[in-house]
Structure formats: C-alpha cells, structure tokens
Symmetry: C2
Subunit: 219 residues, 2 copies
DNA sequence: TCGTACTAACTGACCGGTCAGTCATTTTTT
DNA sequence: AAAAAATGACTGACCGGTCAGTTAGTACGA
C-alpha cells in the first residue's frame, strides 16, 4: 500500500504532486507525534493533528484510514530510520566491548532520550496494552533488535574477559532500564526535580560497567 | 474535605452508615483502579467503574466530584498504605547496607511490581503530564520518600565500606530503574517475550550490587 | 503563451454515537 | 414520617469519520 517509510531526498522522478503528497504525509506524522505526545492517544483530536499539519480534518483521512492507523504509522515512520542508524552505528563501531556498549548508550541518549522520540516510548508504555498490534511491532522491530545488539556486545565482552559471566535473564532490560527511566523522569517529574541528563548518563554507565566488570568477591 | 486515605479498622466511633459509606468508597477506588488500568484514563467510563463497584453511575458522583478527582483519589488511596509499610520495613530492617537494600528491593518487587499497584505506576507515566497535580503528589509523597530511603542506605554502605563512593546524580533512579522496567515489560511486552520476574530480580540485584561494590580497577 | 478539459487533492459542514455530569424520583435507614 | 442514600433517564458537549462540493495542479491543442 505505502512503502514511504524513509523519505529523504526529493526523488526527481516524482511529479510535483507526488512530492507534495509525501511532504504532507510527513507533516501529518510530525503533527501526530506532537499532538499524541501532548495529550495521549484517546484525548488527541484528529482536528488538532490536521491543524498542526496545516490541512483540514478530511485530508487526514485521505492519508490514513483511522486514528488508530495514524498512530501506528507515526510510530513506524519515526522509529524505523533511527533503528537503521543505530544498527549502522553498531556495525561501524569497533574496539573493546566496553567502548561499543558505551557508544550504543551514547547514541541512545542523544538520539532518543534527548529528543521527540522519547515521547514515543512513553506512548508505547501508555497505550501498548490497548494496541497489541503496535506493541508487537515495537517489540519485534525495535526492542528485539536493541536486545540483540546489547547481547552481542555482552557476549563479546565475556569472551574477551572484560565482563564477568552473567546468567542473563533480563540482562538487556536491566542494562537499558536506566535510560528508560531517565526519559520518563524528564517527561513526568523533571519540573519538580530536574534531572541533568549528562550527569545521569555518567552515573548510569558507571554503575552498569562496574556491575558487568569481573569481580573477585562473593556471588 | 476528606481525610479518609488509610481505611483499615472499623472505627467503633463510626455509625453503621459511616462504615458503609467508607466501604463503598473503597469499593469505588478498587473499581476505579481496575477500570483505569484496563483502558487508561480517557477511555475509562464512569459507568463501568460504577458497575464494577456494584452501584449506579450517580452514586459515583456522591463520593467524587469528577472523573479526574476519582482518579487522583484512587492513586492516593492505593499508594499511601503501601508507603507506610515500606517505611516500616526500612525502619525495621537492620544489618548490612547490602541486606537492607536487598530487603527494600524485595519489598518493592513483591508489593508493587507483582500486583495491581504496578498498573498505577504505568498510569502515572501515561497520564502524569496531563495531571500535574497528581505527578506532583506522586513525586512528593512517593518517589521522594523512596529516594530518601535508598540514598540513606547507600550513604551507610559507603561509610561502612561496603559500597564505593559515587557522585550520585540520579543514583536512586538508576538503582530503581530495573524494577520499573520489569513492571513495564510485564504489562506491555510479556505476551510476546515472557519475563520471569524471579530470575529478573536476581539479575537486577546482581548487577546493582556488583555495580555499587568497591572496585579496585580503573573508574 | 494562453485557454480548456480533466483529475487529483482538499475542504468543512454534517451525522451518529458516546459519555461526563445532573437531578427528579425511588428506596433504604433511622 | 423524615432524612439520607441511591438510582438511572436525560442533557449537552464532543469528536471520529463521511462525503458532496471546491480548489489547484496537469495535459494538451491552438
């Protein structure tokens, strides 16, 4: 139906109309992210999305079948490019497992936590149970890939002796958890107790890397 | 207005009516938790809450001014008792800082993550930005208390030499993060990739305790 | 370069269903 | 019998989704 998930250059083979259409689709997903982030799925008004995108309500339905589909497509459109970048960054990275883990974390903090995208994570948590579709997509295409990357790094680190052996049930979740909580804190509690993301990041990697490091003591 | 936040024993100074009223209030907050958990705030119907509590819609408005107030009161009513238990558990616990941290974690996993209450955490994350009231209450009365408890334990552990010195910005968030993520995973992704909470707990404390432990190697 | 015919894109008034909140009436308690 | 509690039909605002009508882009002949 539509394979426009990664719109980058203005393809010269496209007519003016096609380019406009694509631009509008992008404007709509941008607007959808903004509005859904602001008030959540249920309270978001299609009319507001339309206004924010500079079109009328009816137009939204020329691009998306329903509010629900708009939501899902928005998540996909916003997350897919980031995923590819992340995979590329991992592939490109070399050096010790510690360095690679650090690079991945840094990427995540800067490209997800510190921008609009963190709102998507919040929306997945908030709306996930009501959108099995979406939760499944998110798990299959985003989480499991992130999980695979982290686990590969850990495996290498254990082999090279940088990290100790851990049984690993929920290891990825535990390692990434700090980042997720930072995002949530920023979105929900920052106004009451501000969080310095840079300092937090230092604490996070310090704790994790030390936790993974081979330790001579008991257990 | 109402100071009934911790309904426990049937106070003999109360008339039969007052006791019934209190019971109904409890039934309503129970029902509210169930319904809000199921579908989120916006999609929840007052009529469903009423039915689940065994009363009619109008009755809900005899106890709560509005849907919003019902939501806030429900969170307060469900979280306050737990907090007091947690504080008590901390006070009662002695032994090494490691043991105390472990006890607190265990408490949290069993009394929050593994029951209805985890839904409240999800609701706070989901609806927090739309309910500054509630987010502030939650931060002031729940998070900051938990934070104080953990920080006290860490401080003791550093003094006793069990833990290394850490600068600590966001330390509490990082330590608790694993637990929060476990809760989210259970609620959103468990059906796609089940999480064994006991094994996860082991990984969590293993990673954290090792991360906090004094390490001889480079920072 | 203009005019004309065609069509894709867009609009916004409207419809139908939903639901928070109200209140006149009924039921229960004292 | 009086008061308190509970009811549920009702109202009015709201909003997702539709579609008849309008606008703007395109193709082409002169």
């Amino acid at each position: 139906m539509n394979n426009i998930l990664d719109p980058l250059e203005p393809d010269p083979t496209q007519s003016k109309r096609e380019r406009q259409k694509e631009a509008k689709r992008l404007a709509l997903t941008d607007a959808a992210l903004a509005v859904f982030s602001r008030v959540g799925f249920a309270a978001a008004k299609i009319e507001d999305v339309a206004e924010e995108a500079g079109v009328s309500k009816g137009t939204v339905y020329l691009y998306f079948e329903s509010k629900e589909q708009l939501f899902e497509e928005m998540v996909k459109a916003k997350m897919s490019p980031m995923l590819n970048h992340m995979a590329g960054a991992i592939e490109a990275s070399s050096g010790s497992a510690t360095d690679r883990l650090l690079a991945q974390m840094r990427f995540f903090y800067s490209r997800v936590l510190n921008c609009d995208r963190r709102q998507i994570m919040r929306l997945i948590m908030a709306e996930g149970p009501n959108f099995p579709h979406l939760a499944e997509f998110y798990h299959a295409n985003i989480l499991s890939r992130g999980q695979a990357m982290i686990e590969a790094i850990i495996r290498d680190g254990v082999e090279s002796g940088e990290f100790r052996q851990m049984q690993g049930h929920g290891l990825m979740q535990n390692i990434a958890a700090g980042a997720l909580v930072a995002a949530i804190w920023k979105m929900v509690f920052d106004r009451f107790q501000p969080l310095d993301l840079d300092a937090y990041f230092e604490t996070h990697i310090d704790l994790i890397l030390n936790g993974l490091k081979a330790a001579p003591t008991e257990n």
